[in-house]
């Protein structure tokens, strides 16, 4: 392993408040996170010449902040958009399109203040071919393959529940997490059934919040106030805008393809990874992710999590902020994956893992629609 840095994350911050924040519109959540990330980088808004955003357009965010950037990225592929923005930003910076790219997320997912409507139009693809069957948003759609996965691999309901149990062990150490009380598999089973086989505690929390990143060139990154987090590998991929059209309901093609790109570019294998974030809107996603990224073999992820390997003290610390299941989930959660990877690599996480030099953040967008993967490292990982 001797990766080359493609760029650096020199600023990273979440909104001051997370959870229930009805006082702030979605755009104000973008702005709060943006100001904090730019300050974290030791810069001012005048230094920002590139803006990327999803949920709101980059032009809306840039205008709100009084920036006139020379680089705009409005890539919108769901919750993994921000990881894809990082991929595009390092390429744009290398091509000379911008020096400092600000990537923002803000979503009033709980309070719905200044947020766009959610119900799809009846003439949309989803409106014609999925909504007529009584779907009620992601809880009734995203985990559609779980029963098939169980039938084909032997995954048990207990193992699925153990994902929520493991992540609560992490969030119990994270003061900003929405839920911090330890739970058991029995607690998961006792929580209301939302859409069989998913109980409430196997579904993400619903919150307001935001986050922002400043991405810059490798040169000069070490001179900023915080230790730089180097971008070593990136990947993006897609599968289908309709969950009903997944090629294989027990595997995510987009997880597999995006991670292969990122791992190949960074010249790493799974054994090089100290810390892992896998987007967990629902408990099945870390199970799919561990298998699709190659950390474990087919059908092994449930037992791997159940046995504590991803829990505090385990061999593969995963979702160390508590994840979407316990920490926060504004709707497009991917920004928070990167925030936690950055904190762990800087050594400033609430549930800090000892000696994290290389972190992988794997995002998903829509319902297995798209994916983005980032391999991030400290200066110690540079070849």
């Amino acid at each position: 392993m001797s990766p080359k840095a493609l760029g650096a994350i020199i600023g990273a911050a979440e909104t001051e408040r997370l959870g229930t924040v009805p006082e702030l519109s979605a755009l104000e959540l973008h702005a709060d996170a943006a100001r904090r990330a730019v300050a974290d980088a030791g810069l001012t808004m005048a230094d920002i010449d590139g803006v990327a955003s999803a949920g709101h357009t980059p032009s809306a965010v840039a205008h709100y902040l009084g920036i006139t950037p020379s680089y705009l990225d409005g890539t919108m592929v769901g919750g993994c958009s921000y990881l894809v923005h990082v991929r595009h930003a390092v390429a744009a910076i290398a091509a000379g399109l911008a020096k400092h790219v600000l990537i923002t997320h803000g979503e009033s997912g709980r309070s719905r203040v200044g947020a766009p409507p959610r119900w799809p139009d009846p003439s949309s693809q989803m409106g014609q071919f999925e909504v007529p069957y009584g779907v009620l948003g992601p809880p009734t759609m995203f985990p559609m393959g779980v029963l098939r996965f169980m039938a084909e691999t032997g995954l048990t309901h207990e193992q699925l529940a153990s994902v929520a149990v493991a992540q609560r062990r992490w969030s119990s150490m994270v003061p900003r997490a929405k839920f911090r009380d330890l739970i058991t598999v029995e607690d998961v089973f006792a929580s209301p059934m939302i859409a069989y086989p998913m109980h409430l505690l196997e579904c993400c929390v619903v919150t307001d919040g935001g986050g922002a990143l400043v991405v810059s060139a490798v040169e000069g990154a070490a001179d900023r106030p915080k230790p730089p987090v180097y971008v070593l590998g990136t990947g993006e991929a897609m599968e289908t805008p309709l969950v009903s059209q997944m090629e294989d309901f027990t595997r995510s093609k987009a997880f597999r393809l995006s991670s292969q790109l990122a791992f190949h570019q960074a010249q790493i294998t799974t054994s090089d990874v100290d810390h892992l974030m896998i987007y967990d809107a629902f408990a099945h996603l870390p199970i799919y992710g561990l298998e699709d990224l190659g950390f474990v073999g087919r059908g092994e992820a449930g037992a791997f999590i159940e046995e504590g390997n991803t829990s505090p003290g385990g061999s593969l610390p995963m979702n160390t902020n508590g994840g979407g299941l316990s920490y926060t989930h504004t709707g497009m959660y991917g920004m928070f994956l990167v925030q936690e990877s950055v904190r762990q690599l800087r050594g400033e996480a609430a549930a800090q893992v000892e000696g994290v030099e290389l972190s992988v953040a794997q995002g998903v967008g829509g319902m297995f629609m798209a994916a983005g993967c980032l391999v991030l490292g400290t200066s110690a990982t540079l070849g």
Partner: protein, 140 residues
Amino acid sequence: MSSSAAKPAPRPTPDTAPYFEATKRGELCIQRCQRCERAYFYPRSSCPACGSTDVVWFTTSGRARLHTYMLSYRAAPGFEDQVPYAIAIVELAEGPRLMTNIVGIPNTPEHLVLDMELEVDFEPRGEEMVPVFRPLGVTS
């Protein structure tokens, strides 16, 4: 009037109109590529496998197998009397999969067995008809 009148209705577009014209006749019609002979769903003007625009509509056998499903414990509009109800993925005998509801049997894990054989039926959604599936041999 049945409660399904209030269920969400699709609004066809020019590319999907033949599909919804067929469901009104009680036929499940999808498209097949003339070049690579693959059947595909959802409706579109070119084959997703090979890109050919030489595609034709045909009437499927209406036979399918239950591929996977979820049971919604909260009611979408019009589904209030059915909770919990299955939102299912079926695999047509011709290959493509689509989302649907399962009718004619209780929607419970005991009755919904993966890979069970199904056949198409139709239900109203507003002014349109959509395909739903019942166990093979179970009549309405």
